[in-house]
């Protein structure tokens, strides 16, 4: 089963994403900030990361930067989730190492589609891409 790591300081957001992702047949683990997220990614196999921007101890951008510098973790797909809807922020996220950028509030269908796409569990979409 593909493993998703959710990194968000809001427990409600983590529960919400968990519900959607488990419903889509993915296994889920959680972290409360970028620092804990980094520890988890180093300790276990992760197929997809969902990361919030604003968190204590280590924000989403710093997390992505450290992730992409970590041996063996440069290619783990990461979706950044942010309140910012401006184009400049989208490109800033990609420059930091995000593969995908979603704006809050994230809908269930949107999250499920991107999660399946990026964990390779959506064969029809893979063919189209």
């Amino acid at each position: 089963m593909r493993q998703v790591l959710i990194i968000d300081d809001s427990s409600t957001a983590r529960m919400y994403y968990r519900d959607i992702l488990e419903g889509a047949g993915l296994a889920v683990d959680e972290a409360i900030n970028g620092f804990e997220g980094l520890e988890k990614v180093m300790n276990q196999s992760v197929d997809l990361i969902l990361v919030d921007v604003n968190m204590p101890k280590m924000d989403g951008y710093k997390f992505l930067d450290k992730l992409r510098r970590s041996p063996g973790l440069q290619d783990v797909p990461a979706i950044m989730i942010s309140t910012e809807a401006r184009e400049a922020d989208r490109w800033k996220a990609y420059a930091a190492g995000a593969n995908c950028y979603l704006v809050k509030p994230v809908g269930p269908a949107e999250l499920e589609v991107f999660a399946k796409l990026m964990t390779g569990s959506a064969p029809r979409l893979r063919a189209v891409a």
Binding site: S11, T12, D59, K104, P105, P108
Partner: protein, 204 residues
């Protein structure tokens, strides 16, 4: 035998008190290129209570150890006067600085509650979200009512969702009606609906 006693020299040269310096000298040292000089200046400012001087350094201090010293001192000794200059840094484009300041405000005592109430009315919805995040950490018994006010009046769905999060932990049963109302105010919002359902269950 590879194990040896650590030298006593360091202990004997006991920590000599950092010499008191005037405000001008302190300001100059706070801006030194030498991190060791800046560190000593921060320690001195902490000792003589010049906390407000330190807040001005946050935007430019690159040494993380020194920055952390400034931030913990603001939490330890800063009141409303020390908190005010930090507010502008919440608007910074630098996510690292912004979140470090947010965390510092979250750690400050209930004395900053009046400032948080002002921030809850800020024109920028992201700043209002930060204000709600600060509520999450304050111990002030007024917190549940402040969060209630947000869900009853804020025009932005993300701000309301953050406040619902707070109520999931500290909401009172009589607030159930207001929670159902905010869900009704923003229809077709699956995350908000989920947050409200969770809060209703947790509030008992």
């Amino acid at each position: 035998m590879p194990l040896i006693q650590s030298s006593n020299r360091a202990a004997e040269v006991a920590a000599s008190p950092i010499a008191e310096m005037g405000a001008d000298a302190l300001q100059a040292d706070l801006q030194s290129d030498d991190a060791a000089v800046r560190r000593a200046a921060v320690l001195c400012a902490r000792r003589c209570g010049a906390t407000v001087l330190l807040a001005g350094r946050l935007e430019v201090e690159n040494d993380h150890g020194i920055r952390e010293m400034i931030l913990t001192n603001l939490v330890r000794n800063g009141g409303l006067a020390a908190a005010r200059p930090l507010v502008n840094l919440l608007r910074s484009d630098d996510a690292d600085l912004r979140n470090a300041v947010l965390e510092t405000l979250q750690g400050m005592s209930d004395a900053i509650t009046p400032l948080i109430e002002e921030l809850l009315a800020d024109p920028d919805s992201d700043v209002r979200i930060f204000a709600v995040n600060i509520l999450q950490s304050l111990k002030n018994p007024a917190v549940p009512d402040l969060a209630l006010k947000v869900i009853s009046t804020d025009p932005h769905v993300n701000v309301c969702a953050a406040a619902v999060d707070v109520l999931a932990e500290v909401g009172r049963p009589e607030m159930a009606g207001a929670l159902r109302n905010v869900a009704a105010r923003f229809p077709d919002q699956p995350f908000l609906a989920f947050a409200v359902r969770t809060a209703l269950k947790r509030m008992g």
